[in-house]
């Protein structure tokens, strides 16, 4: 339980990574971030205007949370590589959450562009955390490319549909030599707990908290779910049985 999450050269005591998207105001976001216990939180990179200038980084700095810039919105490897370089320049970090979306409707990762971008970014000295499909083969390929973690989706971004293919997540975990972080699709605390029970090293979620009716309360639920799932994963579950087995003595 107390073993830290180790990604590349960093250690985190929290296994819940959050996003900042979807929050209506920064005061609510700040309370939710505190309740989640997160130490690593994603931000997007966008052209500045009067509305979006600064703000979110000040919140993260005040809370001592590391920013994890993403390449959300990119459709090609070339766009993602440029966005990662801009993020490195703006934030002074070589960590990047690599996202290359195939289309706006599904926001599913484009596996070909993602792998291409991952190779380029690793070569360029980035610590690459790729958002990927729940594809065990692609996960291995991303690890071979030098990614510091792999982040398979549970279901499409923002759907809250949970983990649609738990067996694939288990397959990915069983063969991975880097941390597996369940990314996207979490809707409710039991989804986060399941991810950890399947052996994931961490959970990344945003919408489930930021768009909940009570983000602070849901953030607390997610923190406890991740901890509970982690504990359960290490506790050695009983085998599933077809017939009942009495737990009280017969007489």
């Amino acid at each position: 339980m107390d073993d830290p999450l180790v990604i590349a050269d960093r250690e985190y005591s929290s296994r819940l990574i959050t996003g900042t998207g979807g929050s209506e105001n920064q005061a609510v976001l700040e309370r939710a971030l505190v309740a989640s216990g997160t130490e690593l939180t994603t931000v997007a990179i966008r052209k500045v205007d009067a509305e979006n200038h600064s703000g979110v980084l000040d919140v993260l700095r005040r809370l001592g949370i590391d920013p994890l810039p993403n390449t959300a919105g990119c459709r090609t490897a070339a766009e993602a590589v440029l966005t990662a370089r801009l993020a490195r320049e703006a934030l002074g970090t070589n960590w990047i959450k690599l996202e290359v979306h195939a289309d706006e409707r599904t926001l599913l990762p484009d596996p070909v562009e993602t792998l291409d971008a991952a190779r380029q970014l690793v070569h360029d000295g980035f610590v690459v955390l790729p958002y990927t499909n729940d594809d065990p083969v692609l996960a291995l390929r991303l690890e071979e490319a030098g990614c510091a973690a792999v982040m398979p989706l549970g279901s499409p971004i923002g759907t809250g549909l949970g983990i649609r293919n738990p067996h694939n997540i288990e397959l990915i975990v069983s063969r991975a030599g880097v941390p597996v972080i369940l990314d996207a699709g979490v809707g409710i605390a039991s989804d986060a707990a399941l991810a950890m029970e399947l052996g994931c090293a961490a959970v990344l979620l945003a919408t489930a908290v930021t768009r909940a009716s009570d983000p602070e309360r849901m953030a607390t639920a997610m923190r406890l779910a991740v901890q509970g799932g982690r504990l359960a994963h290490g506790a050695g579950r009983i085998p599933k049985r077809f017939w009942a087995q009495a737990s009280s003595p017969p007489r």
């Binding site: 931000v43 979006n52 200038h53 703000g55 980084l57 959300a72 993020a87 320049e89 934030l91 959450k97």
Partner: protein, 66 residues
């Protein structure tokens, strides 16, 4: 000369630099990243990187997301 600055066409003095473009927007370079025609220009090079007519300058920062 005219340059495209974050999707707006703006008029800058001939010989203007990346630093001048940031001044035009009223931003200090901290926490920002600048791309000129799709290539990142590091902060240390803002004052010596001159723009020419028709250049595309994008200025980006971190926002809520992900």
């Amino acid at each position: 000369m005219k340059v495209r600055l974050n999707d707006d066409i703006v008029e800058l003095a001939d010989g203007a630099t990346v630093a001048d473009a940031l001044d035009h927007l009223g931003y200090s370079p901290n926490g920002l990243a600048v791309a000129v025609d799709g290539e990142v220009v590091p902060r240390a090079a803002h004052r010596k990187t001159r723009l020419v007519e028709g250049t595309t300058v994008d200025v980006l920062s971190a926002v809520q997301g992900g």
